[in-house]
């Protein structure tokens, strides 16, 4: 084990990073909390401390309720869809053959693209007349489904979600693949020798061993889902009629479009609290997992 050192040397290494981190990450976060108790409106304007008035207002705001509803739909889809597809792909492609390597690379290619670019590409794919989605639907005789996906109130959110999941699935697959490398082959072989079929091996051996990877995937997906803004902004700006307006978009619109900066801060605080719950759960799961494996 390492010896105890005088604090001065580690402090000298930590001073500048901590200074920058506190000044531009921690201080603004705390500051946001403060602004959420003010009536700040307009960039230059003076503002007053108004206590919990913003929160009183926000929980009766119809648009906020709508944003929370959309965020929860988005969140629920995000937890299941890319996780399950990513897990399926990882299990199918975990072998080291050439074809698997190529397939894996192509499935995770979207990870390196900007959400902005993914949004632009998918707007084009969804375009009502010329987009491949509708060309495909017409080709297989589903003419009635060839609709303006992003312009319809009941399909906008889910259409944006599909574009988002296109990227998140590859990321989840990569994390599951890394997790699979920690599943000892002898254990899987032993299960087979004992007469377990693939599904039994999967349920009883592989999935439990994948728990750490699953925790990481769920935490990352959940947080990415809550904070995703760019792709929604590029594709629908939260529309039509706020039907794809999530909390992240609501926070931006209230703060920077309507210039209600105090009110927008309270939306940011709600988003922050939701993330905090996930962070706490995540760290607790991790320490539980460490106890289990140590």
């Amino acid at each position: 084990m390492q010896r105890r050192h005088k604090w001065i040397i580690p402090a000298s290494f930590l001073f500048f990073p901590l200074l920058v981190y506190c000044a531009f990450v921690i201080f603004p976060t705390a500051n946001s909390l403060y602004y959420s108790f003010t009536d700040w409106a307009g960039y230059g304007a003076e503002f007053n401390f108004i206590g919990l008035a913003n929160f009183d207002k926000i929980f009766t705001d119809r648009l906020f309720g709508n944003a929370i509803k959309n965020t929860l739909i988005w969140f629920a889809l995000a937890i299941f869809v890319p996780t399950l597809i990513g897990l399926g792909l990882a299990l199918a492609l975990q072998g080291k053959s050439k074809i698997n390597t190529v397939y894996k690379s192509l499935f995770y290619l979207p990870i390196c693209l900007s959400p902005v670019i993914i949004g632009i590409i998918w707007v084009w794919l969804y375009s009502p007349k010329l987009g491949i989605v509708n060309i495909f639907l017409r080709a297989i005789g589903l003419e009635h489904l060839a609709i303006a996906w992003l312009a319809r109130p009941n399909t906008a959110l889910i259409s944006v979600f599909v574009a988002w999941a296109w990227q998140q699935t590859g990321l989840n697959m990569v994390i599951f693949l890394a997790g699979l490398t920690s599943v000892p082959t002898p254990l899987v072989e032993a299960a087979k020798v004992d007469g377990a079929n693939y599904w039994q091996t999967l349920r009883r051996v592989i999935i439990p061993m994948l728990r750490p990877a699953l925790v990481v995937v769920l935490a990352l997906t959940a947080i990415n889902a809550l904070k995703s803004f760019e792709i929604i902004w590029v594709m629908t700006k939260g529309g039509p009629f706020n039907n794809s307006d999530t909390l992240a978009v609501f926070m931006y619109t209230e703060s920077f479009r309507k210039l209600k900066l105090g009110y927008g801060s309270s939306a940011a605080v709600v988003l922050f609290v939701m993330t905090l719950v996930i962070i706490v759960l995540y760290f607790r799961q991790i320490s539980a997992a460490e106890e289990l494996y140590d």
Binding site: Q2, R3, H5, P10, A11, S12, F13, L14, P17, V20, Y21, F24, V25, F27, P28, T29, N31, S32, Y35, A92, L93, I99, L106, Y108, L109, P110, C112, L113, S114, I117, I120, I121, W124, L125, L130, I132, V174, I175, F176, A178, G179, E189, P212, V215, I223, K227, F229, E230, W233, V234, M251, Y252, G264, S265, A268, V269, L271, F272, T275, E290
Partner: protein, 290 residues
């Protein structure tokens, strides 16, 4: 039975063979669906508007045209050449600074034991999970107060700060596994703590630095939200803002948009192709051990 023999035996089993064939059939269909958007963007980017009008978007281009690229790069039109330059000026210093600060913090936390070091580590790493939205308004105000609003500096500083958690995490984990004997031997030889850090430890960190360089470059290059909030005029706009702006101007010019998307993705695609190993390693940190 050795595992190689068993593999051969199972591979020859006909039901198993049929299962494998079915699996790859399904995977291939999925892959085609998955890659269709990428294919569409590439073929459309290299087609002229006339050809699109005649052939539609999804056929391969008869002749390869770079008109779309020229149009969106042209300072008189899409002006992406300016935004590309800005993105380089932003991404490189911000990546380097965040990695440098993360290396210092990671070393301080990975190689020394002191009171509350574990808590400090969690305090820094927790920043990785913060949604940027929580800091948006205060950072906007802070940058205005510093007179940095609408400059690349504002975005550089904020990406440096928000990059510290991930860089600290990677470097701390890295330094923890560097044998202490190395440091102790140097101490006995009379080297001081900083000499050890710069001359002995830093050269060892190259693989970890490569992981972080690919990660940080990709995040910062691809980011839209921070420059969107912190910049306004063309001279401080980044490529992602430029591309979004372009889609507003050329609403139905899919050729131009496809070319712009490709241009904006080239640097990260380059990393994806040539440094994939490092990039993946960075993405999967913590997935194995938790």
């Amino acid at each position: 039975m050795t595992s190689a023999k068993r593999k051969r035996a199972t591979a020859l089993n006909p039901t198993r063979l049929a299962g494998t064939a079915l699996l790859y059939f399904v995977l291939t269909i999925m892959l085609i669906l998955f890659m269709a958007p990428v294919y569409g963007v590439i073929v459309t980017a290299f087609k002229t508007a006339t050809e699109v009008a005649l052939q539609g978007y999804w056929t391969p281009p008869a002749t390869i045209s770079i008109d779309n690229f020229a149009r969106v790069m042209d300072p008189e039109q899409g002006n992406l050449s300016l935004y590309l330059g800005n993105s380089v000026l932003l991404t490189i210093p911000a990546s380097l600074l965040s990695i440098a600060l993360g290396t210092l913090a990671g070393y301080g936390l990975g190689k020394y034991r002191f009171k509350l070091d574990g808590l400090l580590f969690i305090f820094i790493v927790a920043g990785m999970f913060l949604p940027p939205q929580i800091a948006l308004i205060p950072v906007f105000r802070l940058m205005n107060a510093f007179g940095l609003y609408d400059t690349l500096w504002a975005v550089i500083i904020i990406h440096t700060a928000f990059g510290i958690p991930i860089c600290t995490l990677v470097m701390r984990n890295f330094f923890q596994v560097v044998p202490n004997a190395l440091r102790e031997a140097a101490l006995i030889d009379g080297a001081n703590e900083y000499g050890i850090f710069f001359r002995i430890m830093l050269p060892l960190t190259l693989p970890a630095l490569a992981v972080l360089a690919t990660l940080q470059f990709t995040w910062i290059w691809n980011d839209f939200l921070w420059p969107f909030i912190l910049t306004q005029k063309a001279d401080s706009r980044t490529i992602m803002l430029g591309i979004v702006n372009l889609t507003g101007q050329y609403t139905v010019d899919w050729g131009g948009q496809a070319a712009a998307s490709l241009i904006g993705s080239l640097p990260t695609l380059f990393i994806f192709i040539f440094f994939q190993r490092y990039f993946i390693k960075g993405l999967t940190l913590g997935a194995v051990k938790g």
